[in-house]
């Protein structure tokens, strides 16, 4: 899905119009676009530049600065496993193996059906209940292999497709 098609362009405009035409709104705009479309493509960058007046190159600089923003399309559900020390010594490696085996992809990859992406993240402040991960806007602590499998099963696409305001299946 590129933001160049008409329906999508309307949705993009709607996101922009929710924000003031001001540079301080740049990050909130980018966060919203990234959330809605799963990434920020070059067409969206041009539109954001037109709207805010911030040069394209600087927008690119801002996007690449933040680990949650990306120009490459991620899966509908982005799994971010914490790899910092408290989670690491609490058995993170075992969770890595379970996630990779169950989804059939490695960290840094997205499943072929575009549903799940696997990423590492730095400390997410769940050190009292490790190992922990984020899936989109939700946090999961105290992970065990069994629990990870249950969590993945609960993310059946049909049930969740509207939850994150994500525009339909490709």
């Amino acid at each position: 899905m590129t933001t160049g098609t008409r329906a999508v362009a309307d949705e993009l405009q709607e996101i922009l119009l929710n924000h003031e035409k001001d540079r301080t709104q740049l990050l909130p705009i980018l966060v919203d676009i990234n959330k809605y479309f799963g990434h920020i493509d070059s067409n969206a960058i041009i539109e954001v530049s037109r709207y805010t007046g911030v040069p394209i190159g600087e927008i690119h600089g801002v996007i690449t600065f933040y680990s949650f923003l990306g120009q490459k399309k991620r899966g509908r559900f982005v799994i971010r496993l914490c790899r910092t020390i408290s989670c690491d010594i609490a058995g993170k490696d075992q969770i890595v193996r379970v996630l990779e085996k169950e989804l059939g992809i490695h960290f840094g990859e997205t499943t072929d059906d575009g549903v799940f992406s696997l990423e590492y993240t730095n400390c997410i402040g769940m050190c009292d209940n490790p190992p922990a991960m984020l899936i989109n806007d939700k946090v999961y602590g105290g992970l065990t292999p069994e629990r990870v499998v249950d969590i993945l099963d609960s993310f059946k696409l049909s049930e969740y497709q509207d939850m994150f305001g994500y525009g339909g299946v490709e």
């Binding site: 910092t84 010594i89 769940m126």
Partner: protein, 389 residues
Amino acid sequence: MKNEKKKILFGEFVTGAGLARALEMGAGKVVDEVKASKLRGRGGAGFPTGLKWELTAKQESDEKFVICNADEGEPGTFKDRLLLMEQPEKILEGMAIAGFAIGAARGFVYLRGEYIYLRKILEDAIVSMTERNFLGKNIQDSDFSFDVEIFLGAGAYVCGEEFALISSMNGYRGEPRNKPPYPSEVGFRDKPTVVNNVETLCYVPYIVTKGSEWFKEHGTQASTGTKLFSVSGDVKHPGVYELELGITVNQLLTEVSGEGAKSVQVGGASGLNVAEKDFDKPICFEGLPPGGSIIVFNHKRDMLHVLKNFMEFFVEESCGQCTPCREGNYRLLEGVKMLEKGECSVRYLKELEALCDVMKDSAKCGLGQTSPNAFLSIVENFKTEILYR
């Protein structure tokens, strides 16, 4: 909140009492009281809060801002998560009092993207407090109006640094900059801005109602008050503990059932690794770094593995703007990998230690100035273990 002895933050609290008292006292007296309490920033850097407010209050400007720094990213820290989840009204009240003290009408909570699930709790608290007129127009029939909005981050540790946070809000890369000018002069939208940590703001309503003398009964002379400690790693009862500043590592370990530790990482990845021989040292601004992150390691833990984890963290989170931090952390990680393979000579290790000193002296912000701490302290404490593998 784990310990039973409720000290300050988890004691009794009535929303609005601090704010009402502040409105009675007047802005000048509020600043004086916070100054007198010697409250220092709880994010880790420890700048005196009252002084920060005074400097911002003095500025002549049509607009000023209060920012609550909820970009809690230091490895091993999660006390702000608990406050945001359980005590959002206390945070917002602290912000309103800060706004009243410095003459600001708008505040922002800079919430790290990783904590997006706490957004709803904060939003609800803002609505509820506005309905009860603790926020909004003419608060409690005074001339003071104050609104709070949430600003969401997008995954960048360095944005916890106040200059980086402001750059991020201003629509730029979240990179620190040289100082001065300080945010008290040039901050959000280039206007005078106060940036306070979540926990710092939570002490404010208490200081205003109970007074600075009461607050100073806690802690040490240079580090007044209590502190929330986020305890994780090899302990029986991980969690958030409110303890007096000045507590020794030993006392803390007893409190959290972490006896028999090999070493304790005090203050997070950017803090210090403390070995058993130093467990009698106090945690406070004049002692071991009081950022509040406590990660306990038992005797089975490989300290080189721990160090590698920290250095990978810094290599990834360095913003890359200044050379000492960008290249320095990379070289330190490379050194750790050499140590892993048993390929690092004592001579080269000394060079790396000298590099650490250069980074401390010349990096632009706190990230690069403190990232060598883990390297230096772990190498010093466990030289035999890591050098001869």
